[in-house]
């Protein structure tokens, strides 16, 4: 019983990290029609910057804030000065974002080396919750909490604010939104920066449990795509449900079929693709 509960919670907490990643990926795709192959780099760089800030300041909170804001800024610069010139040209966009993936990945090994690192858990959260005979680390519960908070905030912004309404309008029809006086270009920059922010947040928060290592950028980028394919592009609900599904599949896959670790994620993805090409919550 305990085994199932613990493994399920492990899957959910990893799923929350994937949600942070996929929410940005999905927003960026939904609004800008950009397949952002640099998204995994945002995650990795967020983790590395967070680690450095933690070493310098000793504060986990500061590491999370500085890490994600720095990468958000990087995202803004990338959108303003590079991606913007390639609006709606999917092939050059793919090359550009893939190029940045290589550039960031190589620079990261120059600055932070090639050996895997972990971010130490904040002391306040390093213990474990004890309920009778059941123990579970606080930190993973904290990740689940942060993930749910972000999800709730995103929902509120999307459905309850003027910004959200402008976003939805621009996703539906960019031309008309522009004609109505919505500053779609600014939205592009905001959304890309915010997507980078969420990915980097995932990187810093994931640091203590997943670790930060060269190649993590590729790994999480691919998992992010699987989440988005399963959940459906441009859908917040899809990113959340897809994230949880992939988190659980990955976790139980590793427990029960270690030889086929990746396959337990990709096989369901292929099935969903066959049955519902637009994903569980995507629009046709």
């Amino acid at each position: 019983m305990n085994f199932w509960l613990i493994q399920t919670l492990n899957g959910i907490s990893f799923g929350m990290l994937l949600f942070l990643l996929a929410a940005g990926l999905s927003l960026i795709f939904g609004l800008m029609k950009v397949l952002n192959l640099t998204h995994g780099s945002f995650y990795l760089l967020g983790g590395y910057v967070g680690l450095t800030v933690l070493h310098l300041s000793g504060s986990f909170v500061l590491a999370v804030l500085v890490g994600s804001l720095a990468i958000a800024l990087l995202g803004v610069v990338m959108e303003r000065f590079f991606l913007r010139r390639l609006h709606l040209q999917e092939l050059p966009q793919a090359l550009l974002t893939f190029g940045f993936l290589f550039i960031f990945s190589d620079l990261a090994t120059v600055v932070w080396g090639t050996s895997p690192q972990t971010i130490p858990k904040p002391p306040l959260l390093s213990g474990a919750l004890q309920l009778g005979g059941f123990f579970y680390p606080y930190y993973r519960l904290f990740i689940i909490g942060v993930g749910l908070t972000v999800a709730a905030a995103l929902w509120w912004v999307q459905d309850g604010t003027r910004l959200g309404a402008m976003l939805r309008a621009s996703v539906d029809d960019e031309e008309v939104a522009r004609a109505l006086g919505i500053n779609v270009s600014l939205l592009f920059t905001l959304v890309f920066g915010f997507g980078a922010f969420l990915a980097a947040l995932g990187g810093v928060m994931g640091g203590p449990i997943v670790g930060i290592y060269p190649g993590a950028d590729f790994d999480v980028m691919l998992l992010g795509f699987v989440v988005v394919i399963i959940g459906g592009l441009g859908s917040l609900k899809g990113a959340l449900i897809g994230g949880l599904a992939v988190g659980l599949l990955d976790n139980f896959g590793k427990v029960f079929f270690p030889e086929l670790a990746l396959f337990t994620i990709f096989a369901p993805m292929a099935v969903i693709l066959a049955l519902r090409p637009a994903g569980l919550f995507g629009r046709e």
Binding site: F29, K33, V34, L35, L37, F82, R85, L86, Q89, E90, L91, P92, Q93, A94, L95, L96, F98, G99, F100, L101, F102, I103, F104, S105, D106, L107, V110, F218, L222, F225, V226, V228, I229, L233, E259, L260, A261, L262, F263, I265, F266, A267, M269, A270, L273, A274, P277
Partner: protein
């Protein structure tokens, strides 16, 4: 895309260029060292790989980011058949192509329902399924250690020379790739090739003209995968080693870069792109460890400054050659 100016001149200039190219390629083993001959083999293999993708991207307008899947599947199949069952190249090579083509049928059925960026993502994810299998199924594929000691093709012909030597292997590759290129050129010049271009420009118009667009797209997808598979199997023979790297997205992206760098939709462009990238990779990684950084910069530069490739730049700067 032959321009009308060339047609005025007849086929002579083209024929002359082809003749010079053929003589150069035939003569290379007499001037190059073993190392450089190996480099030439690599260039030819990647030129074929890039041309195969061009059929899809340049002619069919289907931007795949998972083409390494077919390259790798065929390479693994050929290598495994040669290693485990001792099959000769007459069977091991076609078996590789066949499996690559069959996988393409399956993946094509899934991916071809989408287009644009979504198509990029689906092809990427599907190719990653194959990578996952190659990486995880250790008992068959050796996992990330790969499969070493793949034997060079045994043709069973009692020839006086062996393909383990670099010069005979060079001619073997040249012969196969020349034949494949010949087929590809014929393919894009055929009614099928023109229908593909039509689909690239406007699917609805082609549908209205009565073309079965879906069948043409799947056909291009599968043919393109088979040619990629041929390149993969040759590369397995050349390297005498196969690893999950053959299937990695980095390789899919690299071949896409070759296509775009040279100029999509021209066959010759992607071949030139492949030669350039292989050359740069070998020259530059000899001097610096920062090859990845540089490759990243090349990606960015091509996307910003030469999205229609070197061929596009050439057309831009030599307006007298431009098609009216």
């Amino acid at each position: 895309m032959s321009s009308p100016h060339l047609k005025h001149l007849g086929l002579w200039p083209l024929g002359a260029v082809a003749l010079v190219a053929a003589l150069t390629l035939l003569g290379l083993p007499y001037v190059l060292s073993t190392y450089h001959l190996g480099l030439a083999v690599q260039m030819m293999i990647f030129a074929l790989f890039a041309m195969s993708l061009d059929l899809l991207v340049g002619y069919g307008g289907m931007p795949s980011l998972g083409h390494a899947a077919y390259f790798g599947i065929s390479a693994y199949t050929t290598a495994l058949l040669a290693l485990r069952l001792d099959l000769n190249a007459w069977l091991a090579l076609p078996a590789g192509l066949l499996l690559a083509a069959l996988t393409a049928v399956l993946f094509g059925l899934l991916a071809l329902r989408t287009r644009g960026s979504y198509f990029l993502m689906i092809t990427l994810a599907l190719s990653q399924v194959v990578w996952g299998i190659a990486f995880g199924w250790r008992s068959l594929t050796g996992g990330d250690d790969g499969l070493p000691d793949v034997p060079r093709p045994a043709l069973g012909l009692h020839l006086p020379w062996s393909l383990t030597d670099s010069t005979p292997f060079y001619y073997f590759t040249l012969l196969i790739i020349a034949f494949a290129t010949f087929l590809l050129v014929g393919l894009v010049a055929s009614p099928f090739g023109y229908a593909l271009r039509g689909i690239r420009e406007s699917e609805t118009r082609m549908l209205a003209l009565g073309y079965n667009v879906w069948r043409y797209k799947l056909g291009a997808f599968v043919l393109s995968a088979a040619f990629a598979g041929l390149a993969g199997s040759l590369y397995a023979y050349y390297n005498r080693f196969v690893s999950p790297d053959y299937l990695h997205v980095a390789r899919s992206a690299e071949v896409l870069l070759m296509v775009i760098l040279g100029g999509a939709g021209t066959l010759i462009g992607p071949a030139v792109g492949a030669v350039l990238i292989v050359l740069l990779e070998n020259v530059i990684s000899a001097y610096t460890e920062r090859w990845l950084l540089l490759l990243g910069i090349i990606y960015v530069a091509v996307s910003l400054f030469a999205p229609s490739g070197l061929i596009g730049l050439l057309r831009h700067f030599l307006p007298w050659r431009a098609t009216p």
